[in-house]
């Protein structure tokens, strides 16, 4: 193993060595010093003791001049090996006395390091200083002592060094595993954590660390595994986000204002139509913004950068200089204390939304079928035109146009033909007005024309006349040649109203006046026309109350005569509304209200119940042979409870279903074939009869006639009217009758008003006749009277009311 100067092992061992050396040095020095001093001190004490022992004796002997005694004393001391020399100097002696065990001079002994101690000799008798006693004490004992000390110290040092080596080795072997641990950590490869395993065969703290490291590695592996899974999940979500951004066309970008660096998301590159690898500067990026929006957007962004605020801008960009895309960008600018300014934004490609919005706007303001302005746009333009007219003191004209019998075209030729007709009419009308005028489709077959800056009423009339004239011609619509007429109502600003609603309402009223006046004409609004819309609204309200109160809805009956025996075969039940103030109102004035307000089902059920109830009364009066025909509208066929209601009523009033005949128009039968067929079959199953009303005006096919459970065909009065003068009508009527008979059906001719009608229809073999020639629709009471009178008086050809 290599030892580094920076390794803990080296440092620890070095510290141990240095501290041990210092300790040993210190201990050695201090011990030696203390031991040496102590021993020297002992020696000096010994010397002092010796001197104190002999000095007074020597001094007294000197004082008494007993020199020989001094010899004895000195020699006696020299028996002590430690005392090498004694010198006595005194004024009583002619020369100093010296006693020695060694043939060496005092100076030499001094150089040899022996202990030399001198003291004064005081005469014990007189206390006078009488000389000096010098004692040389051998340092042998000191040397022996110190030698012993060094021997023991060396032994101790040896033991200490040995123990230090032991400790060092222990530390080395302990820290060696730490080094192995460190090397293992150093070789740790994060990409291959499973390869990291530390195997140490020790049971010390390092082993615990290695075990902990292994555990940590396991947890790290688990963590990395989780991170990898998380990373995969993030990648997946990132891809998902990218896909989502791509699908949502959302891009994002970061702009570091200080460093002028721009980063675009992948989707933003797609939005801009450039390659992902393209590097864009901020200026290049801004150049994508269309010229119209550039200054505005730049101002917004610069403001946000200046104030560190948010911004939300919508603008268009030009892709490759031609394709325009609309972008909505929401962003915010973050200004940090370190001076960095970062703009982060999310951009949404709202091109489709803008296009859709345009479409929505178009749908909102323009009629989808004709492309004309709708009533919203019309009102907007009218508002502006009125403001303008008011400002300029001008007049405006509003022309309300409704195609006559358009419903008939829809019912007979289908809605597609109706739609084509509307488009054709809109184009035709467009040609009759100025560019500055507004032509709008108000709804259905209703058109409103706003003529601005009109000179006077006459000018408006001229436009209306021109329109009426242009429309009342033969027009080629699809494969059909259609004759159409129109009714036009005119209102003028400010005479007939000062608001758009007023002007439109009054023009509408005038239009109804035109219709009531025979159609195919125009009318200028006058106050005596009243307010048609108000009338309508009132009528709706009244009708609702009428249906609720039951009594105002009455059933009238128009007799049907058997051609062969001229007897009253039955009658058609026809509804009348006996208005409390307006009197008797005919169905053409309220049925459409019932249809549009949802009252039709309720009112239809009321008519059915009243009719069945009346049949019971007729039966009671002895007219149980009568067959009463009840009209069913298209709306009633949408009522899922229709058949069950009829069944309940039949049971309630105990009426034979064969006395009931239901009339449906061709258009009803053709509108929802399957549903109609099902209901008719159910009605047939109840035992009632089915008649097709107004046959010939619709577009029913013979196949359906055969398929439907029909009993009777009613020839439309428009054919009957013409059978006298028009050979075609006569042939058509004959064909219908023949066809009906060949299908096993009975025929009823409507609109029989003259004797000629009766004669011709008899000849044509029509089974039953219905019309004013015999009887107009009359109230139940009158019908009963008719039945009774007819029964008694027998009026063979004509029933006169």
């Amino acid at each position: 193993m290599k030892l580094s100067f920076h390794s803990i092992i080296f440092k620890t061992l070095l510290s141990l060595f240095l501290s041990s050396s210092l300790f040993i040095g210190f201990i050695g020095f201090t011990t030696k010093e203390s031991f040496s001093k102590a021993f020297i001190s002992l020696i000096h004490e010994d010397i002092s003791s010796i001197k104190s022992n002999i000095a007074p004796s020597i001094a007294l002997n000197l004082s008494y001049n007993f020199i020989d005694s001094i010899d004895d004393i000195s020699h006696a001391q020299l028996t002590n090996e430690k005392i090498l020399l004694i010198r006595i100097e005194s004024k009583f002696l002619q020369k100093s006395m010296q006693f020695s065990n060694v043939p060496v001079e005092l100076e030499q002994l001094s150089r040899d390091g022996h202990f030399i101690s001198s003291s004064q000799l005081i005469d014990p008798a007189t206390n006078e200083n009488i000389g000096q006693l010098t004692l040389v004490y051998s340092n042998k004992s000191y040397k022996d002592y110190m030698k012993k000390f060094y021997e023991w110290f060396s032994l101790g040092l040896l033991l200490f060094v040995s123990s230090m080596f032991g400790v060092g080795y222990f530390l080395y072997s302990s820290l060696k595993s730490l080094n192995i641990l460190a090397l293992s950590f150093n070789n740790f490869d994060p990409s291959h954590p499973k390869e990291f395993t530390i195997k140490l065969h020790t049971k010390d703290e390092v082993s615990i660390i290695s075990q902990s490291a292994n555990n940590m590695t396991k947890r790290l592996i688990d963590y990395i595994s989780k991170i990898e899974n998380l990373s995969e999940l993030i990648k997946h979500k990132e891809a998902h986000l990218k896909d989502a951004q791509r699908m949502a066309k959302v891009g994002s970008f970061d702009y570091d204002v200080v460093n002028n660096t721009l980063h675009l998301s992948d989707e933003y590159y797609r939005i801009l139509g450039i390659k992902l690898s393209t590097t864009l500067s901020w200026k290049e990026f801004l150049k994508f913004i269309s010229l119209n929006d550039y200054q505005h957007i730049l101002h917004n962004i610069e403001y946000a950068i200046k104030n560190g605020s948010r911004f939300n801008v919508t603008y268009s960009i030009l892709i490759k200089g031609k394709e325009e895309r609309y972008i909505q960008t929401k962003g915010k600018v973050r200004k940090k204390e370190d001076g960095s300014v970062k703009l982060t934004a999310v951009s949404l490609d709202i091109t489709n939304d803008v296009e859709n919005q345009k479409t929505i706007d178009k749908l909102a303001y323009y009629d989808a079928l004709t492309g004309l302005a709708n009533r919203t746009l019309l009102k907007d333009r009218m508002y502006k035109a009125i403001q303008n007219a008011k400002r300029n003191n001008e007049q405006l004209a509003v022309l309300f146009l409704d195609l006559d019998h358009f419903k008939l075209i829809n019912d007979t030729l289908g809605h597609s033909v109706g739609d084509e007709l509307l488009i054709f009419v809109s184009q035709l009308l467009h040609k009759q007005i100025r560019e500055s005028d507004t032509l709008s489709r108000f709804g259905g077959d209703e058109f409103v024309i706003l003529i601005s800056s009109i000179k006077d009423k006459i000018a408006a009339e001229e436009v209306a006349k021109k329109i009426v004239d242009v429309l009342q011609q033969k027009h080629d619509i699809a494969t059909h040649q259609l004759y159409i007429t129109s009714s036009v109502g005119i209102s003028l600003y400010p005479k007939d109203g000062i608001t758009a609603d007023e002007l439109i309402r009054n023009a509408d009223t005038a239009m109804y006046e035109a219709k009531n006046d025979g159609r195919n004409k125009y009318k200028i609004y006058s106050q005596n026309m009243g307010n048609f819309i108000d009338k309508q609204l009132n009528l709706e309200q009244d009708l609702m109350e009428a249906v609720k109160s039951v009594h105002q809805i009455e059933v009238y009956y128009q007799a049907k005569i058997n051609t062969k025996n001229k007897e009253i075969y039955g009658a058609e039940a026809l509804v009348r509304w006996r208005h409390p103030t307006k009197g008797l109102i005919f169905p053409d004035q309220f049925i459409y209200i019932a249809e549009s307000t949802g009252l039709m089902i309720e009112m239809g059920n009321l008519i059915i119940e009243q009719s069945i109830q009346h049949i019971k009364e007729f039966n009671k009066l002895g007219f149980s042979h009568l067959k009463i025909a009840i009209n069913l509208s298209a709306r009633q066929f949408q009522d899922s409870n229709l058949v069950s209601f009829i069944s309940i009523m039949l049971n309630k009033y105990q009426i034979n279903p064969s006395q009931i005949e239901f009339e449906i128009t061709e258009s009803v039968s053709m509108s929802n074939m399957n549903n109609t067929l099902r209901i008719l079959q159910e009605l047939k199953a109840l035992g009632t009869s089915i008649a097709i009303d107004d046959f010939g005006t619709g577009h029913s096919s013979l196949a359906y006639l055969k398929k439907f459970p029909i009993n009777i065909l009613k020839v439309d009065q428009s054919f009957v009217f013409g059978i006298i003068d028009n050979e075609d009508d006569k042939i058509l009527t004959q064909t219908v009758i023949s066809m009906a008979h060949s299908l096993g059906l009975k025929t009823v001719a409507e609109g029989v008003e003259t004797k000629e009608h009766v004669e011709i229809l008899e000849k044509l073999g029509c089974d039953y006749l219905q019309g004013y020639f015999y009887s107009k629709p009359i109230a139940k009471k009158d019908f009963i009277d008719l039945l009774q009178k007819y029964k008694t008086d027998i009026i063979p050809l004509k029933i006169n009311n």
């Binding site: 007294l60 002997n61 008494y64 020989d68 005694s69 005469d123 014990p124 008798a125 007189t126 206390n127």
Partner: protein, 181 residues
């Protein structure tokens, strides 16, 4: 020195009771200093003077004088700031005399004993010219042999209740009656 002492000893044996002047001279040197070996010597000072009382007989009156002369000569300035007073007192006219030390010149045993009794009463150190006086109860004498050493009669010292300093004990030979006899 040894030879001189041997010679003096020789003369002393030849001329009994004759006083050796050399020895007197030595004694003159020693006497003041021996007097200071008494631990209580200050109490025994005679008006501040160290008092040495020399007992003599007729035969050695001159020696006593010589001794006094030698002492006063040697210690003309006194010792330890104490002037020295030497009193000569004859054995025949014994009287209570205070002093720091009694010096006993040779005399008959009876006289010696009388002086010693007197010294014992006064608790005064006694120093004899002859070491034979130690047997009579003198405290100190001088051994003249191979070596000159003081001989100390500890029994007499104890009986006399004189307190002497240790150092004197260290340099002295302790008197043993049997050995001396």
């Amino acid at each position: 020195m040894k030879k001189i002492l041997l010679l003096l000893l020789f003369y002393s044996h030849i001329f009994a009771l004759s006083i050796d002047e050399s020895l007197l001279n030595i004694h003159a040197t020693l006497l003041p200093k021996l007097a200071l070996m008494d631990s209580n010597y200050k109490e025994k000072l005679n008006e501040g003077s160290l008092s040495i009382v020399v007992f003599y007989s007729r035969m050695n009156h001159a020696s006593a004088k010589l001794l006094r002369k030698n002492i006063l000569t040697k210690y003309a300035n006194g010792i330890k700031n104490h002037p020295i007073k030497v009193t000569l007192l004859s054995y025949h006219h014994l009287r209570h005399t205070k002093g720091n030390i009694y010096y006993l010149m040779p005399a008959d045993t009876k006289k010696i004993k009388e002086v010693l009794i007197l010294a014992q009463k006064e608790k005064i150190l006694t120093f004899s010219y002859l070491k034979d006086d130690l047997a009579q109860g003198s405290m100190i004498a001088l051994s003249i042999g191979a070596k000159v050493k003081p001989i100390l009669n500890l029994t007499a010292v104890k009986e006399c209740k004189v307190s002497i300093r240790d150092v004197l004990l260290k340099i002295s030979t302790i008197y043993n009656n049997e050995e001396v006899n």
